[in-house]
């Protein structure tokens, strides 16, 4: 099953103590949402707290979806870059920072930077759902700038490991570039349909 494959790989990564790693998940379109929720569930069950950056679904939508999957959403801080994209109403919530319509990288960076200290657990993650969306909406230089920030954030202080996980569409043409050049990914988890 899709979820099991993905989780097994991620589980291995976590068990091997590869915290502070940069992990890219290549997901097929039809396994997309479940793979995401299972990844988050695994992490939160393992005591991780994290930031969920959503470009796909607005906060209200994603938080209730994750809640339905039995995920403790109190362990998550959301950065909603999807509501403004789709033109939906932005719901104010103490667990969510909304990003303007333009997917402003500066706003994103600030949101992540201010959110990280709020995570109580020593085991933290940043989850980007999904990088494909950024590459579609933003020039390459902005994607690279964002990745530069994330990589520095994850790698700067090894005492407090932050695991960065992001997903890309399996058929994304530039995934190699993202993997090798933009994010210097440590681990690629490729989810297959079964």
């Amino acid at each position: 099953m899709v979820e099991e494959l993905a989780n097994k790989s991620l589980e291995r990564v976590i068990q091997e103590g590869n915290q502070g790693a940069i992990i890219m998940m290549e997901l097929p379109a039809d396994a997309y949402f479940d793979a995401n929720s299972d990844t988050i569930k695994l992490l939160t069950d393992e005591g991780f707290e994290g930031i969920y950056i959503s470009f796909q679904r607005p906060f209200k939508n994603i938080s209730s979806f994750l809640g339905e999957k039995g995920i403790d959403v109190d362990k998550l801080l959301f950065i909603d870059a999807a509501a403004s994209l789709s033109g939906e109403q932005q719901h104010e919530d103490m667990h969510c920072i909304h990003i303007s319509q333009a997917i402003d990288i500066d706003e994103l960076v600030k949101a992540i930077y201010t959110s990280l200290p709020k995570l109580k657990s020593k085991k933290r993650f940043v989850f980007i759902d999904s990088l494909t969306t950024i590459t579609l909406y933003k020039p390459l230089s902005e994607t690279m700038r964002f990745s530069e920030f994330l990589v520095r954030t994850v790698r700067k202080d090894e005492a407090e490991n932050i695991t960065l996980i992001f997903n890309v569409a399996k058929d994304l043409a530039q995934k190699k570039f993202i993997r090798d050049v933009a994010f210097h990914v440590d681990q690629v988890i490729s989810v297959e349909n079964q």
Binding site: T135, Q174, K176, D180, V181
Partner: protein, 804 residues
């Protein structure tokens, strides 16, 4: 031989071998340096105007069209190119333009940076038209930040070289850029380490068969590398700089060396825009123009006649004239003529907008837009300062070649001149002229001359020698009106009409009239009909003759005046209305003891005593106020020695054309002696007058001319009027006796005796008489002076005594 000796020999041999290796390397370095110096001194090959087809197999094109043309296709494939320049000179843009050009040619590429974050580099590239996002994302052009790979691990040269080699091989890259080699080598403290690294890099690059650009950050325009080693592995060296031109900075590129290729060593202007890098090498043309000798009509049949059928095909014609003389109009007539014949034409304007030009043309019935739509006419309007000169030339070249232009107008050269340095403009004008002639384009160049009227100057910038023909348009004054005149000043290789013709600007364009053969002075700007000139000449001669006669008469008059005045006067003078001497001549030195120059600027009063100055000043004031002449004014002056002299002054007022007094002109005569004589005379007169003896003067006719008061008393006359004019004989009793005495006096010069005198009342008295004849300097008698004493009492006494 002992083991030790063997060992020593061995180690010595090794040392020697090492030493020989080092010497070999040094030799190679020296040879390389000499070779670089020789190649950079090479003079450039004459540039062939025809662009050669790009040889893609053996060359690595940059995508910069003119640059690839200069190098016959681009860099040699597999070459190491050192791209040197200061910060901001365009090295990275150049490198990427070349890398992306490779992607277009299906050559993968690697870009390795140590200087800037990748996202910043990509951000700058996103503005450029040659940027290809897919190429980067798909890693056809792999961009690598070496700092990410080696941060904190140290810069081991071997690992760096392996890394570079690895990147090239992984990507199967044919093009590589290391930006910058300076930054890589900077991490090595040891110079020998740097040298080793660079030589090894050169070897690896050579083996990879990858064309490589190494950027070198060098501010000094005379240097190409920081460590002076990078040049030795380079097959080509380019230098990018920014140079100061007046108040602006201009980017330039220099090709310092390209092995195996000819190149031009000049500083080539360079521009960076969204299109990428553009360079503007000088367009050179040879003097080998073909010339058919065929004629091209100008659109004006009279002008064609003046040109013996029109301008010669392929010729350049300078249309010169001051502002408003119709240069553009004449040029448009030329263009319209070509368009009507179906010839592609080009109007390059530098002064007015295209809209204004087409609107103005419409007023003459010429529809330029129609021909533009047909593709026959290209109009380009741009201010000269908007582009570099070579850019303008390149634009013109593109239009000419893309449209197979037959006729061209450049309007105007003078506006281009005003925007650039004169020497730069001269080069441009020569190249433009040569290019158009080489492409057999019949061209008009308009230029504005400085003078509005009169002789126009074409000497500046050698324009007059550059073009094949010159048409002059000028304003001339004719019979009180401003007229326009046209003439052909020059036409190489052909006769032409020498006439000066009047022309008008009408709604049909320039209409040229008949020759102005009966006028002269047209070229000066002010003309006159010849017969008028002849008449004027005669008048002038007459005036001159009259003037000469008048001057002669005046001279004579002056001479006469001088003669008279100098004969009458001792001193001739002129004073201004303030009494200051403005002129002096004559014997003033003898009279006053002053030189003439000492008088000038001084007043007459300066040579008088205070009292005399006041007296004369009052008289002078009265006289000048009424502009009266000075008549016999006696005045005394003080000489330089302080002696008193008397002058008799006469003068006339000098008036200007408005009748205002401007001074006096006069003469002075020294009357000092006369005054002395008068003075003496007065004394004598006083003596005679006051004598108790009666004294009378009698003229030669016997008439009384003077009597003193004693005489009047003695004869009992009341006034001298009663006796003056009377004959003296009436004064005596015995008239006859008196006459005898008179005769005797004249004969002997005098007489003394007694006579009985008869008073006015008839009474008699005895008088003793002493008569003397007064004579002049020539001893001629003038009169007789007689003095009398009344001796009546004495006589009675004597008689009384006798009686007693």
């Amino acid at each position: 031989m002992s083991d030790k000796t063997k060992k020593d020999n061995q180690s010595q041999g090794q040392s020697l071998h090492q030493y020989q290796n080092v010497v070999q390397e040094l030799d190679q370095m020296l040879q390389q340096k000499q070779s670089n110096a020789q190649e950079s001194k090479q003079s450039s090959k004459k540039y062939d105007n025809k662009p050669k087809p790009q040889d893609m197999v053996n060359n690595s094109a940059t995508g910069i069209k003119e640059f690839d043309e200069l190098l016959d296709g681009g860099f040699p494939k597999g070459a190491v190119v050192l791209l040197a320049g200061s910060s901001g000179s365009g090295k990275t843009i150049f490198a990427f333009q070349w890398l992306f050009e490779g992607i277009k040619n299906k050559e993968n590429a690697v870009y390795i940076t140590l200087t800037e974050p990748l996202f910043k580099i990509v951000k700058n590239l996103e503005k450029m038209d040659f940027y290809d996002r897919d190429a980067i994302e798909q890693e056809k052009l792999k961009i690598v930040d070496m700092r990410d790979s080696y941060a904190g691990k140290g810069f081991n040269p071997r690992e760096i070289l392996d890394f570079i080699e690895g990147q090239v091989k992984q990507t199967n890259a044919k093009r590589l850029c290391i930006d910058s080699i300076t930054a890589v080598a900077y991490h090595y403290n040891d110079k020998s380490q740097i040298r080793t690294f660079i030589f090894e890099l050169g070897k690896i690059l050579a083996t990879l068969g990858c064309t490589t650009i190494l950027t070198s950050e060098v501010a000094d325009p005379d240097k190409y590398s920081v460590y002076e080693v990078e040049e030795f592995i380079a097959d080509a060296i380019l230098r990018l700089d920014q140079i100061r031109v007046k108040d602006d900075f201009q980017r330039v590129m220099r090709i310092v060396k390209v092995r195996g290729k000819s190149y031009r060593a000049e500083a080539i202007p360079l521009k960076i825009s969204a299109d990428g890098i553009e360079i503007f090498p000088k367009i050179h043309s040879s003097l080998e123009y073909r010339s058919t000798g065929e004629r091209v009509t100008t659109g004006n049949h009279v002008l064609d006649d003046m040109l013996m059928g029109g301008v010669i095909q392929g010729y350049t014609t300078l249309v010169a004239g001051s502002t408003g003389t119709g240069k553009t109009l004449l040029a448009l007539q030329f263009i319209m003529d070509g368009l009507k014949k179906g010839e592609p034409c080009f109007y390059a304007g530098f002064e007015e907008s295209k809209e204004q030009l087409t609107r103005n043309a419409k007023s003459f019935g010429w529809n330029l837009e129609e021909y533009e739509k047909k593709g026959l006419l290209t109009i380009r309007s741009v201010y000269p300062s908007d582009k570099l000169l070579e850019e303008h030339l390149k634009d013109i070249k593109q239009v000419v070649e893309n449209n197979n232009i037959k006729r061209c107008v450049i309007d105007s050269l003078s506006s281009i001149l005003h925007s650039f340095d004169e020497d730069v403009f001269s080069g441009f004008a020569i190249r433009l002229n040569g290019y158009l002639k080489a492409h057999d384009v019949t061209s008009y160049f308009t230029t504005t001359t400085g003078a509005l009227i009169g002789s126009a100057t074409l000497a500046e910038n050698n324009l007059s020698t550059l073009t094949d023909s010159i048409i002059m348009l000028r304003y001339v004054e004719m019979q009180g009106k401003l007229e326009s005149v046209i003439n052909i000043l020059k036409m190489r290789g052909s006769a032409h009409c020498k006439d000066l013709r009047r022309y008008e600007i009408t709604n049909k364009g320039v209409v040229i009239g008949s020759p102005l053969s009966d006028y002269e002075g047209i070229m000066t700007g002010s003309s006159k009909k010849i017969h008028e000139l002849e008449e004027e000449g005669e008048k002038l001669k007459k005036i001159i003759k009259e003037k000469e006669e008048m001057e002669g008469a005046l001279r004579n008059s002056e001479e006469r005046f001088k003669d008279i005045s100098y004969s009458m006067a001792d001193w001739v003078w002129e004073v201004d209305k303030g009494g200051r001497y403005t002129f002096s001549s004559g014997r003033v030195k003898e009279i006053l003891g002053y030189e003439h120059e000492e008088l000038i600027g001084k007043t007459l009063f300066d040579f008088m005593s205070e009292d005399e100055a006041k007296r004369v000043g009052d008289i002078f004031k009265e006289i000048t106020s009424e502009k009266k002449p000075i008549v016999d004014l006696e005045n005394w002056h003080l000489t330089k020695k302080g002696e008193k002299i008397y002058l008799l002054t006469n003068g006339v007022p000098m008036l200007n054309e408005n009748g205002e007094l401007i001074g006096y002109r006069g003469v002075d005569k020294d009357i000092t002696e006369r005054k002395k004589m008068e003075h003496a005379l007065r004394i004598k007169e006083s003596a005679v007058s006051s004598s108790i003896n009666a004294i009378a003067f009698i003229d030669l006719e016997g008439k009384v001319t003077y009597v003193n008061p004693s005489f009047l008393e003695m004869w009992r006359y009341d006034s001298e009027k009663e006796v003056l004019g009377k004959t003296a004989v009436t004064l005596w009793q015995k008239k006859g006796q008196y006459m005898e005495i008179m005769d005797a006096s004249f004969e002997k010069g005098g007489w003394v005796g007694e006579l009985v005198a008869e008073r006015s009342d008839g009474s008699l008295f005895d008088a003793q008489l002493s008569a003397n004849i007064v004579k002049d300097e020539e001893d001629n008698p003038i009169c007789m002076m007689v003095s009398f004493v009344d001796i009546t009492k004495t006589k009675r006494l004597e008689e009384a005594l006798r009686t007693t």
